[in-house]
Amino acid sequence: MTDFWIHPALVLLLGCLGLPLVPARLKKAFLLLVPALAFGGVLTMARGTYGEVHFLQWTLTFGRVDALSLVFAHIMSLMCIIGTLFGLHVEEDGQHIAAWIYVAGSLGAIFAGDLLTLFLFWEMMAFSSVFLIWYRRRPESTAAGFRYLLVHVTGGLALLAGIVLQVKATGSTAFTAFDVHHLTPGAWLILGGFLLNAAVPPLHAWLPDAYPAGTFNGAVFLSAFTTKTAVYALCRGFAGMELLVVLGVIMSLYGVIYAIIENDVRRLFAYHIISQVGYMVAGVGIGTELAINGACAHAFAHILYKGLLFMGGGAVLHMTGETRMSELGGLYKKMPWAFLFTLIGGLSISAFPLFSGFVSKSMIVQAGFDQHLLWAALLLNLAAIGTFYCNGLKVPYFVWFGKNKCSPATFERAKDPPWNMLAAMGLTAFLCIFIGCYTPYLYHLLPYQEAAQAFHPYTSYHVSETLQILLFTALAFFVLVRLRKIEPHRGTNLDLDWFYRLGGRAFFWLARKPVQSADTGVGEVYRVGGLVPLMKSAGLVGVFDNRVIDGAVDGLAFAVRGLGGRLRFAQRGALQENLTLVFAVAAILILAFLFFF
C-alpha cells in the first residue's frame, strides 16, 4: 500500500447506503453527486498498487491502477454519470442502487489485481444487473432475468473453477497475462467465463434475450458494463490469442445478420453490441500494440454511442410504450431531438468521419491489415456495412420516417422525453462528436502511447474509403426501401437461447411429473415412518408424565415435546431444501478439497 487511495466502487457503494436516507428535495443532486465523485476519483488517481489486503494465505489487491485499468475505469465512471442522469426522474431508489452496485462491480473488477477479487466483483455485477431487468415488472422481464442469471451463474462457476485450478497449478492468484500459446485447463475455463460475459457466440444468446427486457434506463447501463468489463479482462489476460481473431470476426458478422432481420429496436441494438464487441475481441486476438489500443479505444467509444442508441430506444419506449419498428414510424414531428441524438449514435457506431467510431474502429482494422490478416480486415469492413445499414439507416428511417404505423394511442403519446433524458442524450452525443473530432482526448488515455501517437485516422485515403463504403450502403438501403424489400414486420428470430428455453420446459415437466411425485412419496414416508411415531412417542411421554410422574417432573414432558417439535421441523421431508443443502455442502467440500489438497 502506498498512498491514501479511495476505491471509486466504494464511493458508489456508500452512495447506495446513503441514498434512501437523503430527503426527497436533495435526491436529484445526490444522484448526480455520487457518480461525479467516483468519476473525479478516477480522474485524479495516480498509478500504482493500492488496497492490498491479506486474507487467509492470499493477498487480495483491490487497486491495480495502470494505463489499461485507467482507460476502462474512466469510461465506466463517466457512463455512470450519464446513465444516472438519463434515469434521474425515476423515483424508486432500488433502481438507482442496483445500477450503482452494478457499476461498482465493474470498477472493482477493472481495478482487481488478483483473480479472487476479480471473481468477487464479477459476481457482484451479475447479481445486481439482473435487477435492472426485473424492475421492468413484466412477466417476460422476470423470466428473461432468471435466464440471464442462470447463464451468468454458469459462467461464474466456470470462472471460479478455472481460478481454483489456476491457483492450484501456479500457486499464485495474480491476474496477469496468460501464456496464450499453452493454455492450461484452468486458463481455458477462465477464458470461457470471460467469453460468456463478452457474449461471444455460442455463449451470446443471453444478451439479446435479456437487454431488451430491461427498464428504459436499465438497458443503458446494461449495454455498457458487462461486455466491456469482459473486453478489459480479455485485454489483460489473453492478448495475442489467435483464436480470438476468428471468434471476433464471427461475432461481428453474426450480430449484423441477426440485426438486419430484427424488428425490435432495442433487440437490434443488442445484436449490434455483439457485433461491435466482435471488433474488440478481434483486436485483442491480433494483440499488437495498435490492436490493443484499438480494442480499448473502441470499447471507450462504443460505451458512449451504444449508450446513446439505447437512450434513443429507451426514449421511444418510455414515451410511446412501443419499440417494434413494425408498429412505429413517422415520429420525427413528435420526437425530433430524440431522432437527432439517435442518428448521431448511429453515425458514431457506423464510424462516419468526425464521429467517435471512426477514430477507434479504424485502429483495429488497420492492425488487421498490418498483420496481413486480410480476410479478417475485409470481413470487419463488411460488418461495418451492416452496422451502418441497421443503426444509421434502418432504425432512424423506420422509427422516425417511413410509413406511420403507430396506433393512434402510441402516436398521441409520443413526444420528446423529459429534460434530464434529453440532457443525457445531448451530453453523450456531444462526447461522440468530440472524440471523433479531437482525437488527443481519447488517444492520450490509451495504454500504448507510442502506437497511439503514431496513428492518424484522418488520412485522405481512409476518409475516402470509409465514405465510399458508407454512402454506397446508404444508396443500397434507399433502393431497397423504394423496392419495398425491407419493410419491418412482426416476428421473433430464434437464437441459441431456444435450447435452454425449451430445455427449461423439459425441466419443468420433469419437475412437475416424476420429481414431484417422488417428493410427495418421500414426504409421505417421512410422515408415516418418522413424524407419526415421533409425535406418538411425544404423546406417550406426555401421558406418562401426566399420569405417572405427574407434577413431580413436569418439566421433562415440556422438554421432550420441545425436542419433538424441533425434530419435526428438521424432518419435514422437503426434498428440494434437502437437495439444496446437500449441493451446497458438496460444493463447499469440493472447493475445500481443491484448495487445500
Binding site: Q468, A476, N493
Partner: protein, 86 residues
C-alpha cells in the same frame, strides 16, 4: 420545434435532396480516382487501387448481407412473435 420544421423543409424538397445525395456519390467516386486528392499510398492491398473499389464493396456488400440475412431468416429462424408464449 425548429428541428422538425427543418426536416419538413427538406422533405418538401425531397427531389432536390435526392439529387444532391446522388451528386455527392458521384463526386466521391471521381475524387477517389484523382491521385492528387486521395493518396492511395495508404491502400492495404493491390485491389484497392481499382477506382471505386470501396464504393462497389459498400453497394454489393450491403445487398449481399441483406439477401443472406433474409434467406437465413426464411430457413426457419424468423418465426411468429408469440413463439415462446405458452
Amino acid at each position: 420545434m425548429n428541428l422538425a420544421r427543418l426536416i419538413d423543409y427538406l422533405r418538401d424538397r425531397l427531389k432536390t435532396v435526392v439529387r444532391a445525395g446522388l451528386a455527392v456519390l458521384v463526386v466521391l467516386v471521381v475524387l477517389d480516382a484523382v491521385p492528387a486528392v486521395v493518396d492511395k499510398e495508404h491502400a492495404h492491398t493491390a485491389m484497392e487501387h481499382v477506382p471505386a473499389f470501396w464504393a462497389v464493396f459498400g453497394l454489393l456488400g450491403c445487398l449481399l448481407l441483406v439477401v443472406f440475412a433474409k434467406t437465413f431468416g426464411r430457413l426457419g429462424i424468423s418465426t411468429r412473435e408469440d413463439y415462446y408464449d405458452d
